[in-house]
Symmetry: C2
Subunit: 187 residues, 2 copies
């Protein structure tokens, strides 16, 4: 069974109190689509060696897991602010740089502009936040580098309005279907 | 002069009202260190072709600029929240994935934990925000994937307390010195 495609499961759910349970649920869904889910918290920290600081050990193991993966699915739901979790965004860029297929979802249906507090148009029609910083107005869910990368790579960001934004897996399952079809898994 | 090393200048300053001026200032500093600065706003959108949506044109031109660059310097200063700008974080991951040398600074001296509102310890000693989400406690300036990546790549994130967080270039210049020394430029 080791030849089933492996998919890296990136997202801020690693910070949830029930992170392991969410990871388990995601991996069960992967199985249903003929895929093997790789969840960052499953890494064995001891494998990095005791002489490495814990944060760097986690980093190295996550990167090794991404290199091992055939593709990635990224949870870009808003996290502590209007945009996605930084760790997940970093990993999206990394896996794109490595040339791996990427798929992503967000459990928020609206745009980054709609989620930016107190955004108003300046005299030139440009949207700016309360500090005068420009806010992109492309209808994207997040910074254009994220949305446009996904669209350019063939699978636009999936937006799924969710009742429980950091737990609902409808958007995740849509990504699984897209990925399974792309990789030739069981869809 | 085309053989001078090229450095991609990533950061949320592209959203400032005086973005072009900040970019010009960064490029002048690059020159002083024997480097050529590549600033995203210098891209000619027309080069992407009229049939491509503007956001995807910007994405493609930025990625082409990063591929052309010999290295990158990233401004990871907090942006609209406790952490760095998503576009810059994506680009950090991408350039690391492409195997390019990366350097970064933040114009905030404190930690992500210190900047997270209402963080408290749970009964197990784990820091959690007001939504119960874990906050990393590694003394890092941002998500561990960012800080640990930079440390692992040989140039830990430069923290420079600044009076004008999105304009001050002291941290940027420290990165320039590190980069010039690494690439063998004029330091």
């Amino acid at each position: 069974m080791t030849d089933r495609p492996r998919v890296y499961l990136a997202g801020p759910e690693v910070f949830l109190p029930d992170a392991a349970e969410v990871g388990r649920h995601k991996k069960v869904l992967c199985e249903a689509y003929g895929l093997v889910g790789l969840f960052p918290l499953d890494n064995d920290l001891a494998a990095a060696g005791a002489e490495v600081p814990v944060d760097r050990a986690i980093f190295r193991l996550n990167v090794a897991m991404m290199r091992r993966a055939d593709a990635g699915i990224f949870n870009l739901s808003p996290f502590r602010g209007p945009g996605a979790d930084a760790g997940t965004v970093f990993e999206l860029g990394l896996m794109h740089g490595l040339g791996k297929p990427i798929f992503a979802y967000t459990n928020a249906a609206d745009t980054l502009l709609a989620r930016t507090p107190d955004a108003t148009r300046d005299p030139n029609g440009v949207w700016r936040d309360r500090d005068g910083l420009m806010v992109e107005d492309f209808g994207n869910a997040d910074n254009l580098m994220l949305d446009a990368c996904l669209a350019d790579a063939g699978a636009p960001l999936v937006r799924a309005a969710a009742t429980c934004p950091l737990h609902d897996l409808e958007g995740f399952e849509i990504c699984l279907r897209l990925l399974a079809a792309r990789l030739g898994g069981v869809a």
